[in-house]
């Protein structure tokens, strides 16, 4: 009996049924996708890291190395399962030439290596360790993806020809966020190249039990072994591998939560409208003795059917989209061994969506109990009692006119009803503004100052080469004479030991120089200006448990030197563990230098970058825009795309919900509309009243949404960005977009939807709605 009634009902209200189903489908689709991607991502990372036998502890080191001492240390440590020292031959980007061009402009440290002896394998696309033959070169996948090279191409490395034999997956350095990339060659070729680049060592350990990692790190530090370079541990490798796809999954989950929320609102609207429409029938059913539960069942079945169809559709569709979204994960990390679990997890997620929606419908239907049968049968419409409240007087002097005022009065009188629409508009404003703000923030040059780098036009890095000091001085001298350069600053990175409270020593990479020329943004306090001051990256401060104003002891030139902590800053460079100070210590070895410069005329930046790059082949020269483009380019681009998609989705939701809401209001108000018509109000008058309601709610929604986007949205984005190592975060807002374009677009969407939604007001016949 119910089946036919439900089908008839759905056919009668096609738009509403379709819209509701659309949202349920979208929610199920997204949840299912997030589950599938999540299972595959975590499984694929595990598989890759297991097959590659990724080191648990890796110390990069430039400079002389005492292999025997390291072996002895590894032997003494019970926690160590395997130990090896891998060589990484740094090569200038300009000397690696693909058929399509060289890596001269690359901000990555590109280097060559041979296959791992015992572990840390570079694997092929089937997940097997690669054995490179002489003349063969295996290229990091990233470059293949960027279209620079394809298998079979000739690649010239320092004039020597190689054949690109294939691509490699590198469980350590796959991610764009990782600043180095490894090329694999045969041992013979490696020996031939050895003299053409600068050598760096990867001192690698695998432990019996990862739980011992903390203790092992401390022991390595305490043993005073090779430490001239960053230290990276297994959890960090894992995080880097998971970060970009993990962020995508997080965004999908966030969006699906929003879509579920919108689906709820949609259902709430349509259900309340339906109850209003069927008020008399519900009364009659009650009057003839049907139980509330029986009546509820009729409605529940319809929505459960709708939710079931939507959920199944979403689940099915997720398998269509699955492969496209999994492509990246599969390519960079390979198949997941737990992949077979994905459909089950997806089904569980979709089931959850279905259950949550059904439970929600059941909750909304609870109001059947409150419908008084006699009143419903008699009036056929709910007789709400507004109660004793101050009602806004109709002030004829009101500059916007009677219709506008009537609209606003209705909103104020039924705040609860309009709160639902307000929520949608606030959400929409939020969804439009936050991603755009995020985009502007990340693409702004100032963002760099939140990431451990000052804002300059040109940046030159000198590292992994010999005679760093002389080479740096040479560049500085050239800049001194260069009229195009307004000012420059040299920062020299050196490694010092810190005495910890527990008596142990820890290494600290300190950038020495004048930090006032190209200042960072400090989370707390300020940069170092005096000899005895030091600023720490947030990660270091957290590890050393220090606050601004605290002091710490450095070992400088063999002496203990007490430093005051002047401030904290976020840093994403060098594993997030850096420090800044102004003192000098000529005796400590230089890890590297960084020269920043400001160029007088912005139009000269590209030319100057090219000139310095050509002149100082040993250095890595980058314009700041190029640096941002290469390092964060893909992230910025995907956030940009996501922000447009989010904006379009939010506007669509706004239109759909406003449309539904207006139709519901018209259904609810058909009696009041009929009364207005008998009093001589035209259809145009009535439309004006409804537009006033919508615009009033819209204004409130935009204002609240904008405020929330710039406060809560900033905090949320800050939390997301914090995963990239940035602790302090403030939005860079584009006033044109946030305060003009987005309200304008939302306004247009709402007006269009209101006009469409209130067309039915004209069809309301006085006689049918007023007749007793």
């Amino acid at each position: 009996m119910y089946g036919r009634a439900i089908l008839n009902d759905m056919a009668r209200s096609r738009v509403i049924t379709l819209t509701t189903m659309l949202f349920v489908t979208a929610a199920a689709l997204l949840v299912s996708l997030a589950a599938i991607l999540g299972v595959h991502l975590s499984g694929a990372i595990d598989t890759l890291m297991t097959r590659s036998e990724t080191p648990h502890f890796m110390q990069m080191h430039a400079g002389p190395l005492d292999q025997e001492r390291l072996e002895a240390f590894a032997f003494r440590q019970e926690a160590v399962a395997e130990f090896q020292v891998a060589e990484f031959l740094n090569m200038e980007g300009a000397r690696i030439v693909f058929e399509g061009g060289s890596l001269a402009g690359s901000v990555q440290d590109n280097g060559f290596t041979v296959q791992g002896e015992k572990f840390d394998f570079l694997v092929d696309l089937d997940g097997n360790p690669i054995q490179a033959s002489q003349g063969e070169l295996y290229v990091p996948l990233t470059y293949g993806q960027a279209g620079l090279v394809k298998p079979g191409d000739e690649v010239k490395v320092a004039e020597r020809p190689f054949i690109a034999a294939g691509f490699l997956r590198d469980s350590q350095m796959n991610s764009l966020l990782s600043s180095s990339k490894r090329f694999l060659v045969s041992p013979e070729d490696f020996e031939a190249l050895r003299s053409l680049g600068s050598l760096e060592y990867l001192i690698e350990f695998r432990l019996h039990d990862l739980a011992d990692l903390g203790a092992f790190e401390a022991a390595y530090d305490a043993a005073g072994l090779e430490t001239n370079g960053p230290t990276i541990t297994y959890p960090l490798f894992k995080m880097m591998n998971g970060l970009s796809d993990g962020l995508m999954i997080a965004v999908i989950l966030l969006v699906s939560a929003l879509v579920v929320a919108v689906a709820f609102l949609c259902i709430r609207f349509t259900l309340l409208a339906k109850i209003e429409e069927d008020y008399r029938e519900i009364g009659v059913m009650k009057a003839i003795g049907l139980r509330t539960g029986d009546i509820r069942k009729i409605y529940l079945i319809k929505y459960a059917a709708l939710a079931a169809v939507g959920s199944l559709l979403g689940f099915g569709l997720s398998f269509l989209f699955r492969d496209a979204l999994l492509a990246d994960i599969r390519l960079y990390m390979g198949e997941s061994e737990t992949g077979f679990l994905a459909p089950f997890m997806a089904a569980a997620g979709v089931m959850l969506v279905f259950l949550v929606i059904t439970a929600y419908v059941n909750g909304v239907l609870g109001r059947f109990r409150k419908i008084p049968a006699a009143q419903a049968v008699r009036f056929g419409i709910s007789q709400e009692k507004p109660g004793k409240k101050r009602s806004l007087a109709l002030n004829p002097g009101f500059f916007l006119g009677t219709n506008t005022l009537l609209g606003i009065k209705d909103v104020l009188a039924a705040k609860k009803l309009y709160a639902t629409m307000l929520t949608v508009l606030v959400l929409a404003a939020f969804i439009i503004i936050v991603p755009r703000n995020l985009y502007h923030t990340i693409s702004s040059e100032n963002f760099l100052t939140h990431m451990g780098t000052g804002k300059s036009d040109l940046r030159i890095d000198v590292q992994q080469t010999d005679n760093i000091a002389e080479k740096t001085a040479e560049i500085a001298a050239a800049m001194e004479k260069d009229p195009a350069i307004v000012r420059y600053a040299v920062l020299t990175a050196k490694s010092f030991k810190v005495l910890r409270d527990d008596g142990l020593e820890q290494r600290l990479r300190v950038d020495l120089g004048d930090h006032e020329v190209f200042p960072l943004t400090y989370t707390q306090g300020r940069g170092p200006v005096k000899e005895g001051e030091i600023a720490l990256s947030v990660m270091n401060a957290r590890e050393l448990d220090l606050q601004t104003g605290d002091s710490l002891t450095l070992i400088v030139e063999g002496q203990e030197k007490s430093m005051t902590l002047s401030g904290l800053y976020s840093d994403v460079t060098n594993g997030g563990k850096t420090a800044k100070a102004v003192f000098t210590d000529p005796s400590a070895p230089i890890m590297g230098t960084m020269i920043s410069a400001e160029i007088a005329d912005p139009s000269l930046i590209d030319g100057t970058v090219a000139a310095y790059a050509a002149r100082f082949g040993f250095a890595k020269v980058s314009g700041i825009e190029e640096f941002i483009r290469q390092t964060y380019g893909p992230t910025i681009a995907s956030i940009g795309k996501a922000s447009y998609a989010a904006g379009a989705a939010a506007l669509t939701i706004t239109v759909l919900i406003t449309l539904l809401f207006m139709r519901m209001l018209i259904a609810r108000d058909r009696y009041a509309i009929a009364v207005m018509k008998t009093l001589g109000f035209t259809n145009g008058d009535i439309r004006k009243q409804y537009s006033a309601r919508a615009l009033f709610v819209l204004a409130a929604g935009i204002i609240t949404g904008t405020i929330l986007a710039n406060s809560l949205g900033e905090a949320l984005s800050g939390a997301m960005i914090a995963s990239l190592g940035v602790a302090s975060f403030a939005f860079t807002i584009s006033p044109l977009e946030s305060y003009l374009l987005s309200p304008l677009l939302m306004g247009l969407a709402v007006i269009a939807a209101t006009v469409l939604g209130t067309l039915d007001a004209g069809k309301i016949r006085i006689s049918e709605n007023i007749k007793e």
Binding site: E384, L394, G397, G680, N683, G684, D685, E772
Partner: protein, 254 residues
């Protein structure tokens, strides 16, 4: 006396196909200026529909309705709304007041649309109408804070605000107790004596007996007309009119 409202051969059906139900089947009627007419008939005879078509609130399938020299079926929605607002007043069985407005605002609402700048005068006029109808002092009340009878009077005040040429009433005393009903009819009588045309739909003989003439509607057709003449407001007159009307109606099988 000049004819203010006329219907000529009005036909009106609801539904389609097999479910089509002809409610008005060639009704012709003439209402003269200043006249008080009641339409009676059994349930489903089409009396409310006749009133709605005559007031332009419902369209007709065939025929012609002319109000004050203008054919209503030829007018646009906007012009019909103007006529309803300026020249017609409506009183329904339930007080059709809007719940978000105070009683005063409900009364001035239709007049306000055209006379926003004359608001103080409108309020004065509304106040005097409220005093005249016995609800003075309720101006600022919410509609939930007034009785059914008081709301019906407010509805009458609203109908009178624009000095309409005609007042339509659809069972205006149907939802009231006998005291309130008597008072409302007294009020309508007074309005009629001041020169306003009144057309009422009712199935209450007591109400219809106060009209000058009664039209009897049966199965969508005018079945007969009973002339009562002017009511002198005495109990005796009312009794005599009721008896005469009852006898006439019984003859028609009512």
């Amino acid at each position: 006396m000049k004819t203010i409202l006329s219907g000529e051969n009005i036909r009106k059906s609801f539904g389609e196909g097999e479910e089509k139900n002809r409610v008005l089947d060639g009704v012709s009627v003439e209402i003269r200026e200043g006249e008080f007419t009641a339409i009676m008939g059994p349930s489903g005879s089409g009396k409310s529909t006749l009133m709605y078509t005559l007031s332009g609130m419902d369209d007709i399938d065939e025929g012609k309705v002319v109000f004050d020299g203008r054919e209503l079926s030829a007018l646009k929605e906007k012009d019909l709304a103007d006529i309803r607002r300026r020249d017609m007043g409506f009183v329904f069985q339930q007080p059709t007041l809007l719940k978000n407005l105070s009683i005063m605002d409900n009364i001035i609402l239709p007049s306000l649309r055209d006379n926003r700048k004359k608001a103080p005068q409108l309020r004065d006029k509304a106040e005097s109408l409220m005093t005249r109808t016995g609800i003075g002092g309720l101006e600022k009340r919410n509609i939930t804070q007034a009785s059914g009878g008081q709301l019906q009077r407010a509805g009458i005040c609203r109908a009178l605000m624009n000095d309409p040429k005609i007042i339509f009433g659809d069972e205006p005393t149907g939802a009231l107790n006998s005291t309130s009903a008597r008072e409302i009819m007294g009020l309508l009588g007074e309005i009629h004596r001041s020169g306003t045309t009144i057309l009422l739909v009712t199935h209450d003989i007591k109400v219809a007996a106060q009209a000058e003439r009664v039209l009897f509607l049966l199965d969508g057709k005018i079945n007969g007309e009973y002339k009562l003449g002017l009511y002198d407001e005495s109990r005796e007159d009312l009794k005599a009119r009721e008896e005469g009307l009852t006898a006439w109606l019984v003859e028609r099988g009512f």
